[in-house]
């Protein structure tokens, strides 16, 4: 029993330390994991190489539908609505739709600006970032995207916290 406890203890200490070493090799230059305007690390939730998530999200039609609703929600949100220029919402909607399609392995390329660059002067907080994610979940709920599939998209967007949140 003591040996099992020792091994469990050793694993508990070793695994996070190994993970820490791995994560500190985050690439600073754009590589093949630069998708949707964001540079991903090479482990964990990275943009898929096939289109299974794109299909699970409902393809271009459903992604366009929930993105349109999402843009409506965030631009009206009492917490984060002030970040959005009301005369540029259509542009935002098109950029986000392309981004979600590209990230999920679909056939459209994101041609917008780098995510870090877009958000660099906005002073966005974690609470703002989370509110945006919640609005996306609501929009996906309304369009009938299954919860596990929603989480697969949110997994790709969650990492962008380090590029978006500056405050």
């Amino acid at each position: 029993m003591k040996r099992i406890k020792f091994v469990a203890l050793a694993l508990c200490l070793a695994a996070p330390l190994a993970a820490l070493a791995q994560s500190q090799k985050a690439p600073s230059q754009k590589n093949e994991l630069y998708k949707g305007g964001f540079q991903y690390n090479s482990v964990g939730a990275t943009p898929p190489t096939d289109d299974s998530l794109y299909q699970a999200l409902g393809g271009k039609e459903k992604i366009s539908a929930f993105t349109a609703e999402f843009v409506g929600l965030i631009s009206q949100d009492d917490r984060i609505g002030h970040y959005f220029a009301k005369n540029r919402l259509d542009h935002l909607r098109r950029m986000l739709t392309d981004q979600f399609i590209e990230l999920s392995g679909g056939p459209v390329a994101y041609r917008g600006r780098d995510i870090a660059e877009v958000h660099s002067t906005m002073g966005i907080t974690n609470a703002d970032f989370n509110r945006l994610a919640e609005n996306l979940q609501v929009a996906m709920d309304h369009q009938g995207v299954p919860f596990p599939t929603q989480n697969r998209l949110v997994a790709l967007l969650a990492s962008m916290q380090r590029a978006v949140v500056t405050k």
Binding site: P16, A19, S23, I124, A127, A155
Partner: protein, 311 residues
């Protein structure tokens, strides 16, 4: 059932407030990402503390959670009210009162009797060291926190009767929590250095061992929907009191486990229900009295119900 609900159900909704002003009550974290309240008061599952900081306040704010937990077991009832504060998603301070009452009239020896209540105060502190369970999706790094729980018991004389070396003690733990959103799965591993007998309810240390030992604890939770999660936990415990040849020889202590369901209707309320098995707690041998049986022939299994309010 002595669960305190009452006026607390009229909880205020989170107010909108400007970002980064450090006000209480912004509700800036995603639903369910503060965990629930453990029986020792720290944020986590029901039995195992996690690296998550209690409540819904992000790194710009301070949040308060209050909880009531009721665990009816075969021969005992555990009731733990508690409170915890999360500071800037970085530091957590908690207090829980563990009130452990003997229900079985046969457990009458050495100061124990039906209605007797063990009372342990648990003062906890937890510090998130590195990582973020939600944001670090393209990383293997978990959210890691270190914590301590200082535990203080009444009834030192009864604890001495079962062979405990001390009525007070402290646990030290390291927790690593990771949310794999791709699989809607939360995984937690905790290692705790402890001398506590039965979570500390039967004191600390004993004739078999009075040194700190590492104990492994683990939790798995699956997010079924935004406000509902199910999971299971496992918590190993030391076995310090076995082999005591005193007034009340207690048999070996087992690992504890639970299977739970947690419901988060809003960011103000969560309700957790579980089936728990805490193993034998007072497996007292009556052999010294010439009777070849135990006072506690049953393992302590039963239900678990917890209500947490967050502000």
């Amino acid at each position: 059932m002595p669960i305190l609900i009452g006026a607390a159900m009229a909880a205020p909704a989170f107010a909108g407030s400007p970002a980064g002003t450090g006000l209480v009550g912004e509700g800036g974290k995603l639903l369910a990402t503060g965990g629930v309240s453990t029986v020792e008061g720290a944020a986590g599952g029901g039995l195992v503390p996690w690296a998550l900081i209690t409540g819904y306040e992000s790194r710009d704010s301070i949040g308060l959670t209050v909880h009531e937990t009721y665990v009816p077991l075969h021969d005992f009832t555990l009731h733990t009210p508690g409170v915890a504060v999360g500071f800037y998603d970085r530091l957590e301070l908690s207090y829980a009162a563990d009130l452990f009452t003997v229900d079985n009239e046969n457990l009458a020896a050495g100061g124990l009797h039906r209605g007797f209540t063990f009372h342990q105060d648990v003062f906890g502190a937890k510090l998130r060291v590195i990582g973020d369970a939600v944001y670090d999706q393209d990383s293997l790094l978990p959210q890691i926190a270190i914590g301590t729980q200082f535990k203080r018991n009444d009834n030192a004389n009864v604890l001495a009767t079962v062979g405990a070396k001390s009525a007070n003690g402290a646990d030290f733990y390291l927790a690593a929590t990771k949310l794999f959103l791709n699989y809607s799965l939360l995984v937690n591993a905790t290692v705790r250095f402890t001398k506590a007998n039965q979570f500390g309810l039967l004191g600390f240390g004993g004739p078999r061992n009075d040194d700190y030992q590492p104990e492994f604890e683990g939790s798995l939770a699956y997010l079924v929907s935004r406000n509902f999660a199910v999971g299971a936990e496992y918590r190993m415990k030391p076995n310090n009191l076995d082999k005591f040849a005193g007034a009340l020889p207690i048999g070996p202590e087992q690992a504890a486990y639970d299977i739970f369901a947690a419901y988060f209707p809003t960011k103000n309320v969560s309700i957790t229900a579980a089936f728990v098995d805490l193993g034998h707690i007072a497996d007292v041998s009556l052999a010294p009295l010439g009777i070849n049986t135990s006072l506690e022939p049953h393992k302590q299994m039963g239900g678990y119900l917890s209500l947490q309010l967050a502000y």
